[in-house]
């Protein structure tokens, strides 16, 4: 299957030809990065003001609203698999992505007219459906447009641009509310305009056919073929490792809560903690992507989890240093930079081009489901034993899972693809 992959990736040699430099990023990747950046500005604008809008604008209490969240989680995993499968059928990556981005874009003006919790919940569910549908096709397009040996870097560039958008969004929303007090309608309208630009950039500047012409002997994109991917040794190993490590990855909110409890982070800084992680992710995504291309994705992926283990360890004892929150957040961001795009780069090497979107969706969904299970288990452990013991258990579990992952150790896909190490 690796042979099929390198044979049938027309965009990859093109990328190498046009730039002449080793492992330069393909224009398609930059265009997709721009789409993600713009779209994240749009979505994070809304995320940043939504609680305030609900509480002070509509006078609703958002607490009841959180109950819907669990439902979305399972739903978005299913949607992701569907998006991945639809994109592979006939190589319609771009079409599915356009639909996904478009669906999220039209949800923004709908927030203007939705004024009750169930309606707002429905709009957000549609927004997430769009996100779920587009993710796998987009990642497939990134991998198909990049030379195999430069995929880590390509995903790094994409994730950095994506995160930059996520950091800019709240700032834009804040500036609008500065101009117009209580101007939530303006925030939603501007968010829609920004999202529309994102869709337009996708339509205009991302080539329609990133997928290869189907070779006669290539597997046909069907649900059966997608599931049969798990029969492939490398895919199975990767998926298992992602699943195993995901089972010991405590959700972000718990990390921030632990950080606040252990290190007495002042209240006014609490909302800024996710920004610390994002900033580190932004800065490290490209260097770690490049490193993954050079030393192997698997090593970097595992290294990312080692960074997470260090972050857990730092949260454990009673030390209190002024620098500790920064170190923990930097390690948390490092974990994302070393795992998020890198896993996709590694998976891309194990999945044939014809089933790329389904394969990536399968691995993403496995990882996300495992993390969801971990969050539930962690909450229960916290309840039963207290936060310190729960964290110690999570750290031990991560160490065990990492050891298991080392034993499973998928072959280095970069090497298989013929790149000298």
């Amino acid at each position: 299957m690796y042979v099929a992959d390198s044979r049938s990736t027309p965009a990859a040699p093109a990328a190498r030809l046009t730039t002449g430099r080793r492992s330069a990023v393909a224009p398609t990747v930059l265009a997709l990065g721009a789409v993600s950046l713009i779209t994240d500005v749009s979505s994070e604008m809304v995320t940043a003001v939504l609680p305030l809008y609900l509480v002070t604008g509509l006078g609703l209490s958002p607490l009841g609203f959180g109950l819907l969240d669990g439902v979305y989680n399972g739903f978005s995993a299913l949607v992701r698999l569907i998006g991945g499968h639809l994109a592979d059928r006939g190589g319609r990556h771009k079409a599915v992505a356009v639909f996904g981005y478009g669906l999220s874009a039209v949800c923004k003006p709908l927030l203007l007219v939705a004024s009750s919790l169930p309606l707002i919940g429905a709009v957000l569910a549609a927004d997430r459906t769009g996100k779920g549908l587009r993710t796998a096709p987009r990642d497939a397009m990134i991998s198909l447009a990049s030379a195999p040996e430069a995929r880590g870097r390509a995903f790094g560039v994409h994730r950095a641009m994506d995160t930059a958008g996520a950091l800019l969004g709240p700032l834009v929303a804040f500036l609008i509310l500065r101009q117009a007090v209580d101007g939530y309608d303006a925030v939603f309208t501007v968010s829609f305009c920004v999202a529309a630009v994102g869709v337009l950039v996708l339509v205009l500047f991302v080539p329609a056919r990133t997928a290869p012409e189907r070779a006669p002997d290539a597997p046909r994109a069907s649900l059966k073929a997608a599931l049969a991917l798990l029969g492939e040794r490398e895919v199975r190993r990767l998926a298992l490792c992602a699943l195993l490590l995901g089972l010991a990855t405590v959700s972000d909110s718990f990390v921030y809560l632990l950080l606040q409890r252990r290190l007495d982070v002042p209240d006014r800084w609490f909302a800024l903690l996710p920004l610390g992680t994002a900033a580190a992710f932004l800065l490290l995504a490209v260097p770690l992507g490049r490193l993954a291309d050079r030393v192997g994705r698997w090593q970097v992926f595992l290294g990312g989890h080692a960074a997470l283990l260090c972050a857990y360890a730092l949260l454990l004892p009673g030390w209190r240093g002024a620098a500790l929150p920064y170190v923990v957040l930097a390690l948390h961001g490092l974990f994302y930079a070393a795992t998020d795009g890198v896993l996709m780069a590694a998976a891309a090497g194990a999945v044939p081009a014809e089933l790329r979107s389904s394969g990536l969706a399968l691995i993403q969904t496995g990882q996300a489901s495992a993390r969801f299970v971990c969050s539930i288990a962690f909450g229960a452990a916290w309840t039963a034993w207290g936060d310190r013991t729960a964290l110690a258990t999570a750290a031990a579990a991560l160490a065990v899972c990492a050891a298991g992952a080392v034993l499973l150790r998928p072959a280095d896909t970069a090497r298989i693809e013929g790149r000298p190490v």
């Binding site: 919790l117 609490f270 909450g379």
Partner: protein
């Protein structure tokens, strides 16, 4: 399409969308300006000296939402003439409560890159005595009858991307000693007679009995409970399920609260009830609408609450014994407290 063509399409769209975006911001900003002009037929408001001290004239203090230069300032109006002229203080709060000359004001603080929130303790002349930074968006505020304790609840946002998971954090401050309980989640919990611990516990809506005991809502495992709290013992005990935002009557015998009634639409699930603490019997109040507010007692027979109105919210009163019908107390007002 050629690259040139694509760029033309993109630039054209950018110009159009930028126009729409700018227009929406200008429209929203303009609407704010209009709100700063006095609305014909609205209640008369004038600036002046506002005191929280209990004096002989019984007054209502509240967020004045009427359009005009004093929009969203704390204002007072005589309790005997609630639609009469309002005296605005110049002080702005998102949530406010006052008792015995102590006020707690939860307000937004503009920062360089994002807004922060703080709880400000005000003396009888609305002078700041102390302030505390808040980890989220203010939702409930209360002061104990003696004016010594203040409690507040904020919503704390969770994750990034379309994160809809909120939790609350409730703090209690002893204004005399400055001792701050940052979150009631640190208290020990006795549920149905047994010690209880869970990571998903949330508290909100404190109402004080005295300077040591309080009632509040606790949520865990998708259920809400009425709890009675003891500040000295740092402990809460569950008394009942499905009871939110309690408010203790002045004589300390009853709690007015909102209750999630099965079968009602999910966007309007609450109805008002009063619980007699001696008999633990509930009485439904005669308000057919869903009320998402923490009630305030006007006296031992009447409760006051807010409902959405043309200018933000209006205040209503209702007999606390299940009889009668809602009566509009005043328009364009929020977060009331009775002084004197």
């Amino acid at each position: 399409m050629t690259l040139r063509g694509k760029l033309i399409v993109l630039v054209t769209a950018l110009v159009v969308l930028a126009g729409v975006a700018t227009a929406s911001v200008l429209h929203a900003a303009g609407r704010e300006d209009r709100k700063n002009r006095v609305q014909a037929g609205g209640p008369p408001v004038r600036g002046g000296q506002v005191s929280l001290a209990p004096d002989s004239d019984r007054r209502i203090v509240f967020r004045n939402m009427a359009w005009g230069p004093h929009r969203d300032e704390l204002a007072t109006v005589p309790a005997a003439d609630p639609s009469g002229p309002r005296t605005a203080s110049g002080v702005k709060c998102l949530r406010f409560y006052a008792a015995a000359g102590t006020g707690v004001c939860l307000r937004a603080e503009r920062g360089a890159v994002q807004d922060g929130y703080r709880a400000v303790i005000l003396d009888a002349r609305l002078k700041e005595r102390a302030h505390y930074s808040l980890p989220g968006i203010p939702t409930r505020a209360r002061v104990s009858p003696s004016g010594r304790l203040a409690a507040w609840t904020v919503f704390v946002g969770g994750d990034s991307y379309a994160g809809t998971n909120f939790s609350t954090r409730t703090a209690i401050l002893d204004t005399r000693t400055g001792r701050l309980t940052k979150t009631l989640e640190d208290f020990s919990i006795e549920r149905d007679g047994h010690p209880y611990r869970a990571s998903d516990v949330n508290f909100w809506g404190v109402t004080f009995a005295d300077d040591e005991h309080f009632y509040a809502t606790m949520a865990t495992g998708k259920k809400t409970y009425l709890v009675r709290g003891d500040l000295t013992a740092r402990k809460v005990t569950t008394l009942r399920t499905n009871l939110e935002c309690p408010s203790l009557s002045p004589d300390g015998t009853r709690l007015a609260f909102k209750k999630r009634v099965p079968g009602l639409p999910a966007d309007a699930p609450w109805r008002l009830y009063v619980l007699d603490l001696a008999t633990m019997r509930e009485t439904a109040l005669a308000e057919p609408r869903s009320v998402d507010d923490q009630l305030v007692w006007q006296d031992d027979r009447t409760v006051t609450y807010s409902l959405p109105g043309d200018f933000g919210a209006d205040l209503y009163t209702l007999p606390a014994d299940g009889t009668g019908s809602p009566h509009r107390l005043l328009t364009a007002g929020l977060a009331p407290a009775y002084l004197g």
